[in-house]
Symmetry: C2
Subunit: 331 residues, 2 copies
C-alpha cells in the first residue's frame, strides 16, 4: 500500500511530523484523472459514506412518504456536532415518524458544541444517542426501516436497511465490497477501493444529469447537503466552512480515520482522500489543498487558510508551528 507524503507539521525550523495518504480525483466517466498513492487500496470510508448509506432512504420512496425536507436529508448525510440545532432537528424528525431517542442504536456521544457540553456537565446531564454525530443517519435508517416494515435492529448486517445500503454502495462504487467493519455508531461500514470511492463521488457529482432513480436520489442528497452546510457538520467545522467558502456549490464530507470526500457537481468530478495514519488534522488540510488545486477554494480566504495552513498554538496562545500541505498537492 504505497502512500505519498501529503501534509507536514512544522515547528520552528523543523518538519516535526509527516502525514501520508492516498487521493483520487475521478471524472463522470468513472475514470481516475489524478491519483496520489494507490487507487487500488481498500479502505473503510467511514462517515464519508453517509450519502451512499442515505441512497436507499430516498430511492425507496421512504423519504418522500415521510415528507423529509432538505434539512432532514442533509442530517441523514451528516456528522453533526450535536449542537442544540442538530439535537432539536433530529428529535423533531424522530417524533414525526413515531419514534423516540430510545429507538436510536448509535450510542450516546457527548456534544461537540462546547456551550452545550459544559452546560450538561454543570447540570449533571448525561448525553443521549440524539447527540451522537450519526443520529441523523440513524433517523434515516429508522425512517427506512419503518417504511419497509422491518424490525427495530436496523444496524444488523442482514437487516433489509443494511442490505439496501450495501446494494446501493456497490452500485455507485462500481465494485463488489470486500466486506465491512462496524462503525463508531454500530452500523456496518462497507469497504471499497480509493478508486471506487472517487467513482462514487463522481456518480453523485453527475447525478443531476441523469434521470434514473438512483441518480435522482443522489442528486437530491447532494442538493440537500449543499443547501444545509451547517447541518452537515456545524459551526467552525471544516465541512461546513469549506462548503460555505467554495466559489461554486460543492458537497464535502469528512470521515473518521482521515477519510474525506468531495462532490463537485458543476464539473462532474468526485474526490476521495485517505490519510493513511487516520489523522483528521491532515485530511482537512489535504482536502483543502486539493480543492484549492481544483480552483474551487481561494487560499486567501480566512476560512480556507484556517484548514490549508492552520497555525499550531501552544498553551500561551503563541504560534509555535504550522500545518502545511506538501508542495505537490496544491498546484
Amino acid at each position: 500500500m504505497p502512500t505519498v507524503p501529503m501534509v507536514e507539521i512544522h515547528r520552528g525550523p523543523f518538519v516535526e511530523s509527516v502525514h501520508s495518504g492516498h487521493a483520487v480525483i475521478c471524472d463522470g466517466t468513472g475514470e481516475a484523472v489524478e491519483v496520489w498513492g494507490d487507487q487500488a487500496a481498500t479502505v473503510l470510508p467511514r462517515s464519508s459514506a453517509k450519502m451512499l448509506q442515505a441512497l436507499p432512504l430516498v430511492s425507496s420512496g421512504a423519504a418522500h412518504a415521510a415528507g423529509l425536507d432538505s434539512a432532514r436529508l442533509a442530517l441523514a448525510c451528516a456528522s453533526h456536532q450535536g449542537a442544540p440545532m442538530h439535537m432539536a432537528s433530529v428529535q423533531a424528525w424522530l417524533s414525526d415518524i413515531g419514534c423516540t431517542e430510545e429507538d436510536l442504536l448509535c450510542g450516546p456521544q457527548p456534544s461537540r458544541d462546547k456551550d452545550l457540553r459544559f452546560s450538561m456537565i454543570r447540570s449533571g446531564k448525561h448525553p443521549g444517542p440524539v447527540l451522537n454525530n450519526c443520529s441523523g443517519k440513524h433517523a434515516g435508517f429508522l425512517t427506512l426501516a419503518r417504511y419497509l416494515k422491518a424490525g427495530p435492529d436496523y444496524v444488523a448486517p442482514d437487516h433489509p436497511v443494511q442490505i439496501a445500503c450495501r446494494v446501493a454502495f456497490e452500485e455507485v462504487t462500481g465494485e463488489s465490497s470486500a466486506g465491512f467493519g462496524i462503525d463508531g455508531c454500530s452500523a456496518p461500514n462497507f469497504a471499497t477501493t480509493m478508486g471506487g470511492m472517487a467513482r462514487a463521488m463522481a456518480f453523485f457529482a453527475t447525478a443531476h444529469q441523469r434521470s434514473d432513480v438512483q441518480s435522482r436520489s443522489a442528486a437530491v442528497l447532494v442538493s440537500a447537503m449543499m443547501a444545509n452546510p451547517v447541518l452537515v457538520a456545524g459551526e467552525g467545522r471544516a465541512c461546513t466552512l469549506l462548503m460555505q467558502a467554495a466559489s461554486e456549490p460543492v458537497a464535502i464530507k469528512t470521515g473518521a480515520e482521515g477519510y474525506f470526500v468531495a462532490i463537485l457537481p458543476a464539473r462532474g468530478i468526485g474526490v476521495a482522500l485517505k490519510i493513511a495514519d487516520g489523522a483528521t488534522r491532515a485530511s482537512e488540510c489535504a482536502m483543502t489543498a486539493l480543492l484549492v488545486r481544483l480552483g474551487v477554494l481561494d487560499p486567501a480566504l480566512p476560512d480556507v487558510a484556517r484548514f490549508l495552513n492552520p497555525p499550531i498554538r501552544n498553551w500561551n496562545g503563541l504560534v509555535t508551528g504550522e500545518i502545511r500541505p506538501v508542495a505537490g498537492l496544491t498546484g
Copy 2:
C-alpha cells in the same frame, strides 16, 4: 526520511490505518544496537527530553540547595495530568521557593483528571498554569533561575537556564543540536537525531555506574522517576502503568507528536521512538512492543495488553477493532 510501519489499526477484517516511525535501541557505549527507520533523522523529542532539561537543576546544586526530594525531581521530569496530587505538589514546591503560580510561564491547561476538570467546569473555575502538564518542569526551571539569580523570563532561549539546558542536552546526546522549536509550554525544545536521543537515554541508563557530576545528576533523576511513576504521568496513563508493570526498574517518558523514550538501568540501554505522523496511540503501542521485545514487559499483564493491543470501542461500548504492533516489532 525513510520510516518503517510500526502500528496497525484494525477494524473488522481490515487494516484501516497504519503508523510508521523510527526507533533506536542504544547500549552504554553510545552505539545503536537495533534500528528501525532512520537513526539520522532529526526530530524534536518534546516532553521526552524533560530528564535532559532537568539535568542542570541537579548538576548546578540548585536542587540540593532547595532541598528537592525525589517526588519534586520526578515532577521536574513529568508530563503530569493535572490531578489534585500533581497540583498540590507543584503548589507546595512553588511556595517553598518563594514563588507563586503567577511565576510559571507554561500557560494554562485544563486538567486531564476528569473529576477535577468536571468539578472546575461546574464551579466556573478556569484552569491556571499549575495544571499545565509541564508545571513541574517549570517549577524546576524557576528553582534553577532563582539559584542562578537570573531573571524571571526563564524560557527565553538566551536565559541562563535555557543555555544550561542546551549544554546538557548536547553533552548527553553527543551531538550539536540543529536548533530548537518552541514547545507547548513556551520553553525551547532542542532537536537531535533519533540516534542522539537513544544515546542520551543510554547515558541515563548507565549513569549510576559513573561518578562525574552529570552522570550522578542523571542517576538521581532516573531514580526519582522510577520511585514516583504516578507523579511522572498519572492514574491510567501509559508511562505510569508501564513503569509499574515492568519486571525490573525502568523509566519511561512520552512526548508530544508520537515521541517516546525508555531508560533501562539494569541493562544499561536506552530507547528512543518517534511515530512519524505524531500519533500517541501508536507511540504507546510501539514502545510497549519494544519493551516486550526486550523482556521488560509481560504481554499477558492487563496493564501491558491495554497499550500493546488496545481494543477500539464504539459509542455503544462494542469492540469494533484493535491497535496492533507490526509483527517485526515485538520479537
